[in-house]
Symmetry: C2
Subunit: 103 residues, 2 copies
DNA sequence: TGAGCATATAACTATATCGTTATACTATCA
DNA sequence: TGATAGTATAACGATATAGTTATATGCTCA
């Protein structure tokens, strides 16, 4: 993998490295949602959520659609969930090893 | 997924969000290596590489083994490569969509 | 024991980014 | 047209982290 490709991959991981962004993605897994509803769901402020949604969109993880004066966001790249599954599996394994140490 | 689980997943992505750390992992894919050799391979400084190796180890991605006064690091969690593959696939798809726009 | 090599850590600077507050923009509707 | 709702952006302070330089630690061997 070239240095440039490595940077692109790293950038993608970086977008997924914020808990709030993961929460947003998790919420959008249920279907598209307005900014207002996402804000309520993740218990944050509207400007903060808007900013994170923009970051997610710039990386292609979500897509937006405007209807009247409300904007709906939805998942645009299902691979995120595959990534989360792999990480979760790896974490589970790690913790079970650890608990075995104490068990 | 609970808020705590989300944070753990995010932390894992964060460790993978630095290009130099990905380069180190990529190099270690060839087999275990001393800090000195990793340093040469990724073209950085020894203290910097040591710091990143520690971060990778704390998250369980690599493991170390000491022999005399040299320390060998190796991959300890193969799931990283699966993660990179998923991200690469997703990136490829994205770029091919983009090039199609111009094509 | 003392020199030298390999690695780790400390201290620092520079930069990036999170969350907040205030405000701008845009569409709807009375 | 004016008021309001939904969203985006600007500016700011606080915190985190990458990389560097200097130094400490630990092992080996003469």
């Amino acid at each position: 993998m070239s240095a440039e490709a490595v940077s692109l991959v790293a950038a993608r991981f970086k977008v997924l490295s914020e808990p709030l962004r993961l929460q947003i993605l998790q919420y959008l897994e249920n279907g598209e949602s307005s900014v207002t509803n996402v804000t309520k769901a993740v218990n944050s402020t509207q400007p903060n959520v808007s900013k994170h949604l923009k970051i997610l969109q710039d990386e292609g993880f979500v897509a937006k659609r405007q209807e009247g004066n409300t904007v709906f966001y939805k998942i645009a790249d299902e691979s995120i969930f595959e990534l989360c599954d792999v990480v979760c599996g790896s974490l589970k394994e790690r913790f079970s090893e650890r608990s075995a140490v104490f068990g």
